[in-house]
Symmetry: none
Subunit: 136 residues, 4 copies
């Protein structure tokens, strides 16, 4: 198993914080490793307190299923195949903002979760963070 | 960061209790500080026991996202952008009755949560409490 | 079952806050009713954040066993008859500062829990609060 | 109430990571704000996974009682005045490694928690992080 390093986690985190600044959002940014365990976290000044937990859950959810958190949410609606999956694993977050982190070979080595604004902006910032590892 | 004082919390609480009396409701009223921690609480005689926890969660939810709890609920319905956000943070309450507390400068310094009757009355009482700080 | 009223809870709370001021301590004060449910709470400015939870648990512990929290602690030490009782009921606090609230007839109608200073001062303030109901 | 900024949290975190490197330890480092909420976190490569949670709890414990986590532990031993305080607040950590963060005026604006090695080294690294804010 390849695993994200602290250096890589910091690169992802910095890129996400930079992207958050560009769109004028105050974000909570969490990085988990290949085991789904917290690796790095930063809360920008004034970011929502409730988004600490959500950013970490988005990252964990994304790594636990190796897909974007929002993709899982498409399957968990009433009538959907994964209805109420959110109660598992101590609480999943299935709306956008959690994105798998892949290395140059396409292997998932962790995930990023972003929370603090609209889900569109949350996802935008998470994707900006994730991209860093693929160009490296 | 400005934070609510004990005196301010008591003023808010008294105003809410007064408003509850005027509409003939028995309420649980909780005040949290800027960090989301409980600052003051009162349960009126005969108020629902299950509303103790709900009033505290409404207040915390409101401070954690700096918006009314009911506004968050509008976004967390099936198909909505924040579907199932309630599983985060140890359990959010996203129906009306949680209102941010702002000082004269508009800064959020805490939140009030009210529970014990219809959500319309809960919100009415919470808003009545919150108003006190803006005229002070 | 006799139960504490909101008015009585406020009297107890005010008496405790006054006693805290006299000994120069910043306290968290919690009152639970005959059912062990939170009835009133106040945190003095600058009081320890960790004492919010402890004051509530002291009050609940005291009512759950109709004795002072510290008396239970005397029985829960290693080798004692109630060793590790603290893990029950979602977490008991068994050091001093929780005191049953009795009405004029000696019936337990609730309990007070105080936390924020030494356990001696915590207990002193809790006892001062509890006395109000016995002279009334 | 003064609160730690993201910039300050990063300075503390960097100083702690540097000190950890000097003593050859792999640490988890957590920073909480004045409200006890997570502000920044970093796990060094190879650091214990079980220390993620411990570092965060050490930081929170330290802010919740405005003292070093180890000082609380000195009071919570069998026979001590705060025996079993660890069951409160969802779980406290009362051995060394949690240190309050004070600004130049001596005000507590958050706390740092370090976990990953002996408690002596954990505390050494936490103190190294905390010092940064007092010289700034």
């Amino acid at each position: 198993m390849s695993d994200i390093t602290t250096d890589q986690a910091e690169q992802v985190l910095e890129a996400a914080i930079k992207a958050a600044g560009e769109v004028g959002c105050r974000m909570n940014v969490a990085i988990v490793d290949a085991g789904g365990n917290l690796k790095a976290f930063r809360r920008m000044d004034g970011a929502w307190l409730g988004s600490i937990d959500i950013s970490i859950r988005k990252a964990r959810t994304s790594r636990q299923f190796d897909m974007e958190s929002g993709d899982l949410g498409g399957l968990s609606q009433p009538g959907g195949p994964l209805y109420q999956i959110e109660v598992s694993n101590g609480g999943l977050i299935t709306f956008p903002g959690g994105v798998p982190l892949r290395n140059g070979s396409g292997e998932v080595i962790g995930a990023i979760g972003v929370s603090g604004d609209t889900v569109e902006n949350d996802r935008h910032v998470a994707v900006a963070g994730a991209k860093v590892l693929q160009s490296a």
